[in-house]
């Protein structure tokens, strides 16, 4: 089955590449090649990594690459269709009038995304089980651009999922649709029981805590089903972590605001589905849009400006149309050097522009007038261009600006600040959980010796030599130990010698989560720490939500 999937996958990649080549679209082809290479790299990394966190990161990159490839393929098919239709003589793009005005593009940035969680009180008080952790990230799609946020670990100590980075889309039209998808995966559970035989797994899942047992059973049931488009881009590692879609929403221009706003999330799945997170159902974020007409100059040239009411000929200035203002500088160089303009004429939704041809005064051709209303007064400026073409350009620029303002609506009221996103830090090696029970993932391939190794260290220096009964296990690895809780099926290969000195790092500095047996964290090194009278601070990792009150 795996071979068949692999062949299909290769064929698909070939098909995609051929399509890209035939279109001779070098830009898209390059992007597609890049994504395919990234995907291969992510598959290799996934197959090679041992740590759960690494696997999660690799699976996330894989998911993002897959989405990007699918979207590029969709784009390719659209262009191929257009090309084919064009070749047969029909040009659908020419259906409208030739001088169809299109609004200017803009930059859309979403930042400070926060998704509140709604934990049940049973998570805190009755559930003495493991600290369930989820890895979540957001996939954002605008047009054909797909971007992702960093992966964030969530557990019941957090009240919201917060994403620090901001995501910027550089080419977006006013009719953009920003699709947000929240994917989540469990950090612990699936891995521990992935390899266990069915009977033991069901026994274990029924004996675990209420909520974790439900989750495990759900994940086991759905282990057979795979994600979207399995045939086109099959997931290579069956035992690896799988992300599930938790929620999604679509944001448009109406959601843009120069501040924080809350939007509704459509939740996918229910409590029984795997990787279920109790989401409150909304997402808070700051969605800002900067149309290019607001940030880049759209027209410039020499003008002679006269304010209505003045008798003499107006001043000769260099005008620059940028955003909702027409800046008039003394010299063309002033605009670049940042000098203050002589004066500024505001151009907004209420401004009225009239071509001067109608009221052409003798000897003053090529004029247009701009009228603004300030309270009760109406101020009119008359601008004289140098030639007919210049006047036409100015009129064109002004009409385009008005059109853009009508399309981008409230984004043109004032320029919204967008910070360029800082380059993403490489995924930090997540802090190793120092608890014994985290290091000791009891998998069937693990050896009994490691368990006794750890137990021996807990007892302290008393246990110097390996207990005599251990010899039983080194000789006959296939003997299942009735007392050990999860030692299972005969280990497939007992190739390494007794790993008595296997290094296990017990760092007391890490955040110790709850573990099911509830024993105290007493490891041999502890007494030495207590030798000093000073109340040493036991560094428990980042102090997050631990309340302190002055009295």
């Amino acid at each position: 089955m795996q071979d068949r999937l692999r062949i299909l996958e290769d064929l698909n990649m070939l098909y995609i590449r051929q399509m890209a080549l035939s279109l001779e679209d070098t830009e898209l082809q390059r992007k597609l090649d890049h994504e395919i290479r990234m995907r291969e790299g992510a598959c290799k990394l996934l197959a090679a990594c041992s740590q759960r966190e690494q696997a999660l990161e690799a699976t996330k990159s894989l998911l993002v690459c897959n989405s990007r490839i699918l979207s590029y393929m969709g784009e390719l098919q659209r262009r191929k269709e257009a090309q084919v239709l064009g070749k047969t003589g029909r040009r659908p793009s020419d259906s409208g009038p030739p001088a169809e005005r299109s609004p200017c593009r803009g930059r859309v940035c979403i930042s400070d995304i926060r998704i509140p969680l709604m934990w049940k009180d049973t998570e805190y008080f009755k559930n003495k089980g493991d600290l369930h952790r989820w890895a979540v990230f957001l996939l954002l799609q605008l047009g054909e651009q797909i971007q992702d946020t960093e992966m964030v670990l969530v557990d019941r100590t957090l009240t919201d999922i917060s994403f620090q980075n901001n995501v910027l889309f550089s080419e977006a039209g006013p009719d953009f649709e920003l699709r947000l998808e929240l994917y989540g995966a469990c950090v612990e559970e699936e891995g521990a029981l992935a390899g266990a035989p069915k009977r033991l797994a069901t026994k274990l899942s029924s004996s675990l805590g209420r909520s974790s047992g439900k989750r495990v059973r759900a994940s086991l049931d759905s282990a057979g089903s795979s994600g979207s488009s399995p045939i086109l881009l099959p997931t290579p590692a069956v035992g690896g972590p799988r992300y599930h879609l938790l929620a999604h929403t679509t944001l448009t221009l109406a959601a843009v605001q120069n501040g924080f706003r809350t939007h509704d999330l459509t939740l996918a799945g229910h409590e029984e589905s795997p990787a279920w997170l109790p989401l409150y159902g909304s997402v808070c974020c700051r969605l800002a849009a900067q149309p290019f007409c607001m940030t880049q100059p759209t027209a410039g040239g020499t003008l002679r400006v006269q304010q209505a009411g003045e008798l003499q000929n107006g001043a000769r200035v260099h005008g620059v149309l940028k955003g909702t203002n027409l800046f008039c500088y003394r010299k063309p160089e002033d605009a670049d050097t940042g000098e203050e303009p002589l004066f500024t004429i505001a151009i907004n939704k209420e401004t009225r522009v009239r071509a001067g041809e109608l009221e052409q005064a003798a000897g003053r051709p090529f004029t247009l007038s701009i009228s603004n209303r300030y309270g009760d007064d109406e101020v009119t400026h008359t601008l004289q261009a140098e030639s007919r073409e210049a006047l036409h350009n100015w009129m064109e620029a002004l009409w385009q600006l008005f059109f853009d303002m009508s399309q981008w609506k409230h984004c043109c009221d004032e320029v919204m600040k967008i910070e360029s996103p800082t380059p993403r830090k490489p995924p930090q090696a997540l802090a190793k959980q120092g608890s014994l029970y985290h290091e000791m993932a009891i998998e069937p391939l693990d050896d009994i010796a490691a368990v006794t190794d750890i137990l021996a260290q807990r007892e302290g220096p008393r246990l110097e030599t390996p207990p005599p009964w251990l010899a039983m296990f080194t000789d006959q690895p296939a003997l299942p130990n009735p007392c050990s809780p999860a030692s299972v099926a005969p280990a497939s290969a007992w190739t390494h010698p007794l790993p008595w000195g296997r290094p296990r790092t017990f760092s007391l500095d890490a955040v110790p989560p709850d573990h099911p047996l509830g024993a105290s964290r007493s490891v041999a090194p502890l007494p030495s720490q207590r030798s000093s009278r000073s109340r040493g601070l036991y560094n428990k990792g980042p102090l997050r939500t631990w309340l302190q009150s002055p009295v």
Partner: protein, 126 residues
Amino acid sequence: MSYIPGQQVTAIVQRVEIHKLCRGEILILGFSIGGGIDQHHSQNPFSEDTTDKGIYVTRVSEGGPAEISGLQIGDKIMQLNCWDMTMVTHDQARKRLTKRSEEVVRLLVTAVSAEGCAAVHQSPGE
């Protein structure tokens, strides 16, 4: 407190009496507390035992009534005016400490030390 099977447990139990200081309208004791059964115990830097959800002293203001009475940072408050403080929420603890009707609070605190055996000594003035 933490418990290692086979190891000696040493603890110092102390009775501390603090007279609240009047600062205008409010009475202050001069220290900060952390912890509670509704807080996440693993974030507590003062407790060795990770399942300890008790109330701990996280900060003592210099020269305040708490410091004068001998309260130290890292102490765990067991009782307050004979009310139990080992199984209370953070807010309940704060409220009990800041009762305006009480001018004196008598605390039973414990602190862990490695040397010596369990000792109970009274603070002066008790």
